[in-house]
């Protein structure tokens, strides 16, 4: 490594980071995800644009052997840490508690795209393949590539909709987490055989076995060991040791999977899941890792994709359209049918389908690794990237449109025949729930005790503080015919474990008829909407009688609906 190499490396790194962040911000300003801008930065600096305009400069910057390897080191560490961050987002608790009800959705949502992808893989002409001898492996890869989902996009959309903590939200998240995990394991099974020229079934099975052993080992014994280590270091006043430990564990996991012939990213992902599950991991450490990875490593990684391929030369409209169509139809159909079978209404089921259809950054990483392993032609790589971006771009807006067409007067109508407590005397979430069930007792009759227990149980499973001082404890009550709503105000605030840490001053108690998840979604979205702005919340706190509260809620819902229509939907970063 000479001084010249170091110079070229530093300039290339600065250019990639600077351009990626700049265009990322531009993309965000136009309402698109950051990753779109980061990819475009790479396209501009790569063979597509700079290579055409100033081929010598492009070669000097990005294609000298040693600096190129040095950049490779940066993106290798970057992609492992990106998968660690993705792993940290998986909440094993949600999977454990919601896994069963999410099984239909995630199973059908995987099987259909898998089948569609395999079919596509077998039907594409030889000319679309890098190595026609690898037909089976190729088809399996396309199947896996179409079956994964992008957790961050979905999480962001659900948060935007105020549905993150609803049963629908938890169902979608659990299904996406299962999809993601199964997808990465399946992909890592394929990486080993990709190195060879033809596929051997014994090798495929060995890889599958090794992957499963690694994942199972890390998520059981490994997870407990990691938790113990983190707990031991947790009493430290600053997070230095923990930070080193997390990065070290990620590198060790990556090295182990790489050594097994699986890909390093699986190690990063699984270790991320195991670390994220430890209750001793501090929020501060999580934020430091997330910020550093998404702002220092990720932009360079995504921009570097543009260096590898000439996107104009490799753009094949037929392939792009085909991949997008098969991926979207199979995923949306599979997830919708699965969600419907799991008890949602059709409208909500299709919304779930669109949400899980978003492929985001995960798909792009997968496609890059297959390209690097020599399995894909550049044309198909570009088609997968385009599919990932398009599905992410339409996922959020589609979900919003589908879930928001529900009637606007839900909260007001429900509250009119429900209950209102202008000043809750309770100071705990348990007390507040009991107080609000009591106000509904005249209408609940013999169901009251049962209702109280169900809501308390549901609350314990996952707290219902939405943030912004609003909480919506709720449950499905066997025997109930139609939904019931009660509203209680508490100027002192009651802790409902909201994501923003603020105690709730506005508490809606919602009782639902069983197996009516669509209703839950509609009412919760309506509640979230009607108290979304601080003006409405302030006016509501002044209400002393039911009529006053109803008026505030009706006006606010009206106003917000109009603003939303004017503003258009928000988008996730990756």
């Amino acid at each position: 490594m000479t001084e010249h190499d170091a110079l070229v490396f530093l300039i290339a790194l600065a250019l990639l980071l600077g351009m990626a962040r700049l265009l990322g911000e531009v993309a965000r300003a136009f309402g698109m995800p950051l990753v779109v801008g980061e990819l475009i930065a790479g396209v501009l600096l790569g063979p597509t644009v700079l290579g055409r305009l100033l081929p010598e400069a492009q070669k000097w910057l990005f294609r000298q052997p040693t600096p190129q390897k040095m950049l490779g080191a940066y993106t290798t560490v970057g992609v492992v840490l990106l998968l660690v961050v993705a792993g940290l987002e998986v909440d094993l608790g949600i999977v454990r508690r919601r896994g069963r009800s999410a099984a239909f959705t995630s199973l059908l949502g995987m099987i259909l795209p898998l089948a569609g992808g395999i079919l596509l893989g077998f039907m594409l002409p030889d000319s679309d393949m890098k190595n026609p001898n690898q037909r089976l492996l190729f088809a399996l890869f396309i199947g896996v590539a179409l079956s994964i989902s992008a957790l961050p996009v979905i999480a962001k959309t659900l948060l935007d909709l105020g549905l993150f903590k609803t049963d629908l939200g938890l169902l979608v998240m659990a299904a996406a987490m299962i999809d993601d995990s199964v997808g990465w394991i399946a992909f890592s099974m394929l990486v080993g055989p990709m190195q060879g020229n033809s596929i051997e079934f014994t090798k495929l099975l060995t890889m599958g076995g090794l992957s499963l052993v690694f994942v199972a080992g890390t998520l059981t014994a490994g997870r407990r060991g990691i938790d113990r280590l983190l707990t031991r270091f947790a009493d430290e006043w600053h997070g230095g040791r923990v930070l080193s430990l997390v990065i070290l564990l990620a590198l060790v996991g990556a090295a182990i999977t790489q050594a097994l012939g699986i890909h390093a990213v699986l190690g990063g992902f699984v270790v991320g899941v195991a670390i994220g599950d430890s209750p001793s991991l501090r929020e501060q450490t999580r934020v430091t890792i997330h910020d550093f990875v998404t702002n220092v490593f990720a932009p360079v990684f995504f921009a570097s994709l543009g260096l590898k391929v000439d996107f104009i030369h490799a753009f094949d409209f037929r392939l792009c359209a085909l991949v997008f169509a098969v991926a979207s139809v199979a995923k949306i159909l599979g997830c919708s049918v699965g969600a419907r079978a799991g008890g949602l209404g059709w409208r909500e089921s299709i919304a779930v389908g669109f949400g899980l259809n978003a492929r985001g950054a995960m798909e792009i990483i997968l496609a890059l690794l297959a390209l690097e392993a020599g399995l894909l032609k550049e044309q198909l790589f570009v088609a997968l990237v385009v599919m990932a971006l398009c599905t992410s771009l339409i996922g959020g807006p589609a979900m919003k449109r589908l879930l928001y067409r529900a009637q606007e007067e839900d909260v007001v109508a429900l509250l009119r025949r429900g209950g209102f407590v202008a000043r809750l005397t309770a100071t705990t979430s348990r007390g507040a729930i009991e107080e609000l069930v009591q106000i509904l007792e005249p209408r609940l009759g013999h169901l009251a005790v049962h209702a109280r227990n169900q809501v308390l149980e549901r609350e314990q499973m996952a707290a219902t503080g939405l943030g912004d001082e609003v909480a919506v404890p709720h449950a499905a009550i066997e025997g109930l015919e139609e939904p019931m709503l009660a509203l209680g105000l508490s100027p002192e605030g009651i802790d409902f474990d909201a994501p923003d840490g603020k105690p709730a001053t506005i508490v809606f108690l919602l009782l639902l008829a069983p197996r009516r998840l669509d209703e839950e979604v509609r009412v919760l979205a309506s509640i979230a909407r009607s108290v979304i702005d601080s003006r409405a919340r302030e006016q509501l706190m002044d209400a002393r009688e039911t009529e006053q509260a109803l008026k505030v809620l009706a006006e606010s819902a009206q106003r917000i609906a109009e603003e939303r229509r004017a503003r258009g939907p928000a988008l996730a970063d990756i």
Copy 2:
């Protein structure tokens, strides 16, 4: 870059990080700086130990061409970011306000080691040089290497002693900052010519000119531009953009200096200084960068040093002793004489000398760069590393011993003939100072107004909150013959801008005779010592009369002195 390369790189990286952090913790447990353990980790994994025991394994891990280059990329980014963190610690405000009084100390503290180093460079036999033709360049480098100081070690020691905010502390810090900055600029002048075979004076001058233009440009126009950028992004709720911006600026600075033929580290350092000076840089961003760099990059960087050299083979006791002796004698002598000339007593001056004698991580980085540039033989590299570690190891303890031999009864004696206010009525630092000056008015007479103004002015220049709810506003008063002390208590707390953000409940007002800096140090250290434990502070808050307060302080000072003697001194991390 093949899968195999990625595997070796990941394993090597995980090993370096894991061993370095582990042995760093072991070193800390034995009361030594982290960097000692990190270096030892490298020695164990490098040619010195692993290379002797398992030469094949060592070669596989650390000497395959591509993985080695990939590690080089990681350490290149690491060293630039390390210098950014070092730059962030430089407080231009302190240099601006204290630069003049620190000039003597820093000037003599640089000139003597520079002269000693140059002399040593000319006197060493040809056999100690890599290239005897480069005698002048070699001598100049030794001079520069011996003249720098290690800011972090000094800052840590001063914080430990409770002297960080005293005039002595500010003087030492300002001197170290000037030394560091001049040292890095001088070094970067030498890097360009090092590449050639013989020294050309025109090249040396060109480099010097370029360095100065870069430093001056970055610290004037660049600094204002950076401040404007940071201010613009400061209202963001999370630090993502700012983090990218800081890393990007560091890379750009590094690339510019590297391109100019100066070394990349100078760019990182100067950009770090410019960024650190912006009032809009959030503490959160500073902490994220500091934590990530010192826990994820620095351990690998310092361990990687051990990979480059066989420390047993290259250990030359004669050279180590010679370098250590010249470096220490010249630095301690120069700084002590400078500090004495600047108005300190001899004991305090020698303490300053030992503090500034610590070379720490900065010296090690400098030595590595010279080794890589082909200027040094491995023997001299090892001697410089050993010198850096030894001077850091003795710096803190020597300062403590010298400053702590002062009489223990200072506070008690001063307070006995001073004033005591059991409950301050003031709520601002200004009010508290006025109230405490008033209580001393009978003894101050006509000096009272002047004293008040001087203390307020001093407070405005640099606030005197020490942290732990203690503040010590103070100033030298022209015309005062002997020091005067007043103590005020405020259970509600008064904001004195302490490093820990806590308002002060215990306020000591200290008036000093002019040009008696030694006295200031003694009294402030004594105050810091007497209220260092929370028990003493609590008891003090209960005191209603002078006698009661005196008793608490006397007992606490006694107890702490005993504990300190038993515990031994603390040490900085790098």
